[in-house]
C-alpha cells in the first residue's frame, strides 16, 4: 500500500492547469464526492499527522493510501482528468483539512461536487440511462375499418436508473383510437437498468384505420433524468401499417314519387304515393322526406306516418334496412289550373362502419309534373277571391299610374 502511495506521489507531480474544487475540513467518516468518485478519509492520527484515504468509483474501490501533512495523492478521473488531494493539517477530534484540485477536466462539467456529511453511503451516482422504447403492432396489413393493436414497451439499456420517465404518444392521423387496454399512469418514478430488469409496459391500445394507404405510426417520446438529475430524451421506432381499401358501407335511399294520374281536374283528388328504398348495404337512419307540393295544391290526408309541418307533408322513419322499401300513400287536391311540379327533399344518415360519426346525405327527387285542367263545374263556383285580387291589382295599378302622372304632370 505504501508502494502504491509512492507511485501516486510521483506520477501526480506532472500536471497541467489545476483548479481547486475544495479546501476545507473533512471529518472522520465523511467523504467527498466528485461525480461518480468518492474520496473517503479515515484513520486520522493527529499524533502522526497522517490520515488514510480511500477512493471509490461508485462502489468499486479505485485506490487508497496513507497521507502525511503537506503530502499529495492523486487518481485519474473519468476519461482524462486527474484529481489531486493534499493533506494540509490534521486536528484532534478526527478532523483533517484538505485541498482537492483537478486538472485536465473542466470543473464546470461536474454534476456532483460536494461533501458527503454522512459518508459514502449518502453518495448518489449518475450514469447514462438509455430508455429504449419499442412500438409494435400485431398486424402490419389491415383493411379499412379494421383495428390494429399497438404495444409500447420500454427498457433501460443504459448504466443508470432512469428517473421520472414520462411518455407521450402523439395522436395518430388516419386512425381513431378505438380502445385503450393499458396505459402507464403519469410518470414512472424509476426504470432500473441491467439485463435482469424486465421491460416496462407503457401502452396497449387499439387503433382503427379510417383511411386507406401506407402509414407510419408516430414515435412515442420519453423524457427522463439520470440519478444526477440530468435530462434525457428518447423516441421509439415508427412501425408502418398498410391499410387497404376495405369495404365501406353505405346507405343509398331513393325516394320515388307517384300519382295516380298526371293530368287531373281542378278540385279532383290525387292519390299519391312515395316509395322509399334503401339500395345500399348499410341501414339508413333518421330518414326524412319532405314532399314539396305547390302552393295551389292542398294536402288532404295521408297515413299516420305522414305528419304535416307548416303545411308540408313529412315522412319520418327511424331506420330503413338495406334492400327494404316502404310505401306511403296520401291524397292531394289541386286548387288552380296550370302545370305544377311535385318533388321531395330527402335526408338520412348512415354509418359507414369505419368512422365513428354518422354520415349525412340529402338529395332532391326529380319533379313530377302535374297538369291541372279546368274542372267540369268550375264555372259555377268561380272563386270570388279572384275578382277581389284582380280588383286590388287594378286599383294598385291605377294608383301607381295616377301617382306617376302627377309626378310628371306640369
Amino acid at each position: 500500500m505504501l508502494l502504491a502511495f509512492f507511485i501516486l506521489l510521483v506520477s501526480g507531480s506532472a500536471a497541467s492547469a489545476k483548479t481547486a474544487v475544495y479546501e476545507g475540513n473533512i471529518k472522520d467518516g465523511q467523504a467527498y464526492q466528485l461525480n461518480n468518485y468518492v474520496i473517503e478519509i479515515t484513520d486520522i492520527f493527529p499524533e502522526a499527522n497522517t490520515a488514510s484515504y480511500y477512493v471509490y468509483e461508485k462502489d468499486k474501490e479505485v485506490t487508497d493510501g496513507l497521507l502525511g501533512v503537506n503530502k499529495n495523492a492523486d487518481f485519474s478521473f473519468e476519461e482524462k482528468g486527474k484529481v489531486e488531494m493534499r493533506l494540509k493539517s490534521v486536528h484532534s477530534g478526527g478532523v483533517v483539512t484538505v485541498e482537492i484540485t483537478m486538472s485536465n477536466y473542466s470543473t464546470g462539467d461536474l454534476y456532483t461536487n460536494k461533501l458527503l456529511e454522512k459518508g459514502r453511503s449518502e453518495a448518489v451516482f449518475a450514469g447514462d440511462p438509455e430508455v429504449v422504447i419499442t412500438k409494435s403492432t400485431d398486424k402490419s396489413k389491415i383493411k379499412l375499418g379494421e383495428s390494429v393493436t399497438v404495444t409500447v414497451k420500454a427498457k433501460n439499456s443504459g448504466n443508470d436508473t432512469a428517473h421520472n420517465v414520462s411518455f407521450a404518444d402523439p395522436k395518430q392521423e388516419h386512425f381513431v383510437l378505438e380502445e385503450t387496454t393499458y396505459e402507464v399512469s403519469g410518470t414512472i418514478p424509476e426504470i432500473g437498468y441491467g439485463e435482469s430488469v424486465p421491460e416496462t409496459l407503457v401502452y396497449i391500445y387499439k387503433l382503427k384505420a379510417t383511411d386507406a394507404g401506407a402509414f407510419e405510426l408516430k414515435a412515442v417520446n420519453a423524457s427522463y433524468t439520470n440519478s444526477a438529475g440530468q435530462t434525457y430524451k428518447a423516441s421509439s421506432n415508427t412501425p408502418s401499417i398498410n391499410v387497404s381499401e376495405g369495404n365501406k358501407l353505405r346507405a343509398n335511399v331513393e325516394a320515388r314519387l307517384n300519382v295516380d294520374s298526371l293530368s287531373v281536374q281542378r278540385n279532383e283528388k290525387i292519390i299519391s304515393t312515395i316509395i322509399l328504398k334503401n339500395k345500399g348495404n348499410a341501414p339508413a337512419q333518421a330518414v326524412r322526406v319532405d314532399i314539396l307540393i305547390p302552393e295551389s295544391f292542398e294536402y288532404v290526408e295521408g297515413g299516420e306516418d305522414i305528419e304535416t309541418v307548416d303545411g308540408t307533408p313529412r315522412v319520418y322513419i327511424e331506420t330503413l334496412e338495406p334492400n327494404n322499401d316502404k310505401e306511403f300513400t296520401y291524397t292531394l287536391k289541386a286548387k288552380e289550373v296550370g302545370t305544377y311540379n311535385i318533388s321531395s327533399e330527402l335526408s338520412y344518415e348512415y354509418n359507414n362502419g369505419i368512422e365513428a360519426v354518422n354520415l349525412k346525405k340529402s338529395n332532391n327527387s326529380t319533379a313530377l309534373s302535374i297538369n291541372v285542367k279546368e274542372g267540369k263545374f268550375d264555372f259555377l263556383i268561380k272563386n270570388p277571391l279572384y275578382i277581389v285580387i284582380s280588383t286590388i291589382i287594378l286599383a294598385a295599378a291605377g294608383v301607381h299610374i295616377y301617382r306617376k302622372h302627377k309626378e310628371y304632370r306640369y
Binding site: E407, Y408, R409
Partner: protein, 371 residues
C-alpha cells in the same frame, strides 16, 4: 357613388335635360312616354336634375322630367332673347333658385346645360354658376349649345357675350356643342334639335356612367377635372358607338373624327388635354390597338387620360373629352358676332331716327289740314 347635379336652363337646356331623363329611363331615343309609368331613371350615380325657365310652355313641353324638378321663374312677359332682362330676373329670383339647389343636397360635380344664344338660359347660366361657385366647392361645368349661324344677329350677339360671361363666372369648364356643326342630322328643325339633343345626351350619360364605373385603367372625377382645367377653358366631346363588331382602333378613330365631335375642331392642332374612355366587351379591348391609337393622340397633344370599362356583350364605345387651347371656329363666330353687334347698333340708331321721325310727325298732332 357620385352625387351629380344636372341643371338645364332655358328652352334648349330644358330639352336636353328632358332628353337625358328620357334616355336614362331606358329605351334610348325611342323611349315611349309610357316608360315613366313603369320604369325609373337608371343612373349609376345619384343624379338630381333641375330645369329652370321663364317660359312655362317650355317646361310644360318636358315629358320625362318630374314636375318637382321643373322650376318656373315667373316673368310677366318672358325674356324674349334679351339677356339684360334675363339677368334682372335672375337677380330678383336668385334666392328662390338657389334654394332649389340647396334642397337637393350636396354634390360632387354639377353640369349646367344652356344655349348660348337665347335670353333666359344664356343669362341665367353665368350668374347661376357664379352663385354656385360662391356657395359650394364642387366643380361646375357648362354644356353650352351654339346657335345656327343663320338664326340672326341677336342670337350671335348673345352667344358672344354669354360665353365670355360664363368663362368669367368661375365655371370649371365649358363643353361646346354647335348646332351649326351638327345640323346636317335631321329634316325639320324639330328633328334636327332632337337629333342633336340625342347626341349630346348620349355623351353626357356615357360620361356620368364612366365617372362612376370600375375601370381597368383608371380615369376618375379627378382626371376629368384635370382634363377640363386644361387649355383655354373650352372643351368638346367626341363619341362613337359601334353597332356591330368593330375594332377598337376604328372606334377610337371615330370618336376623334369630325362625325364624332360636337364642335368643329382639328384636335391634333387645337386640343390641349384629352381623356379617352373606352367601353365594351373584353374581346374588343385589344391593348396594343388601344395603346397605338392613344400614343398617336398623345404624340400630338401631350398626356391623354384613358379609362377602360369592361362590359360583357357590348360593342366598342369610345368617349373623348378634349380641352382646346385654341378654337378657330370660335374666333370665326366672334368675328361674325362683332359684325352682328355692329348691325344691331345701327339698327337701334335707325329706330331712334324713326323715333325722331315720330316726333316730327307728332308736331302735327291736333292739327287739322287747312284747305
Amino acid at each position: 357613388m357620385l352625387n351629380i347635379l344636372v341643371i338645364g336652363n332655358g328652352q334648349c337646356g330644358n330639352r336636353i335635360l328632358d332628353s337625358i331623363n328620357r334616355h336614362a329611363l331606358g329605351g334610348g331615343k325611342s323611349c315611349s312616354k309610357l316608360a315613366r309609368f313603369y320604369s325609373r331613371q337608371k343612373f349609376k350615380s345619384h343624379v338630381e336634375t333641375l330645369a329652370l325657365n321663364t317660359a312655362i310652355n317650355d317646361l310644360k313641353e318636358m315629358k320625362f322630367t318630374k314636375a318637382r324638378d321643373r322650376i318656373h321663374i315667373e316673368q310677366l312677359h318672358g325674356v324674349g332673347a334679351n339677356r339684360n332682362i334675363g339677368k334682372q330676373v335672375f337677380e330678383d329670383k336668385k334666392e328662390r333658385i338657389m334654394r332649389q339647389i340647396e334642397e337637393r343636397g350636396n354634390f360632387d360635380i354639377a353640369f349646367v346645360i344652356t344655349s348660348a344664344s337665347g335670353g333666359t338660359g344664356s343669362s341665367f347660366t353665368p350668374l347661376l354658376v357664379k352663385e354656385m361657385k360662391a356657395r359650394y366647392n364642387y366643380p361646375v361645368y357648362c354644356l353650352v349649345v351654339l346657335p345656327f349661324r343663320e338664326e340672326g344677329t341677336l342670337y350671335l350677339q348673345n352667344t358672344a357675350f354669354s360665353i365670355r360671361e360664363i368663362r368669367q363666372s368661375g365655371a370649371d369648364g365649358i363643353i361646346l356643342a354647335d348646332n351649326q356643326y351638327l345640323k346636317n342630322i335631321g329634316g325639320s328643325i324639330q328633328e334636327a334639335y332632337d337629333g342633336i339633343n340625342d347626341m349630346i345626351t348620349e355623351r353626357i350619360l356615357f360620361l356620368l356612367d364612366a365617372l362612376d364605373s370600375e375601370m381597368m385603367m383608371v380615369t376618375d372625377l379627378g382626371d376629368f377635372k384635370s382634363v377640363m382645367s386644361g387649355g383655354a377653358g373650352i372643351a368638346t366631346m367626341g363619341f362613337y358607338r359601334a353597332e356591330r363588331e368593330t375594332s377598337i382602333k376604328t372606334a377610337i378613330q371615330n370618336t376623334l373624327s369630325p362625325s364624332g365631335l360636337l364642335f368643329s375642331t382639328d384636335i391634333y392642332e387645337e386640343a390641349s388635354r384629352a381623356m379617352i374612355i373606352i367601353r365594351g366587351d373584353r374581346k374588343y379591348l385589344n391593348v396594343d390597338e388601344i395603346s397605338g391609337e392613344i400614343e398617336k393622340l398623345s404624340g400630338a397633344i401631350g398626356h391623354v387620360f384613358k379609362g377602360i370599362i369592361v362590359r360583357s356583350g357590348e360593342f366598342p364605345q369610345v368617349l373623348s373629352v378634349l380641352t382646346l387651347e385654341s378654337a378657330r371656329e370660335m374666333e370665326k363666330l366672334y368675328g361674325v358676332a362683332i359684325q352682328a353687334i355692329q348691325q344691331e347698333k345701327e339698327k337701334k340708331q335707325r329706330v331712334e331716327k324713326e323715333a325722331e321721325l315720330d316726333k316730327t310727325f307728332s308736331r302735327i298732332e291736333g292739327l287739322e289740314p287747312e284747305y
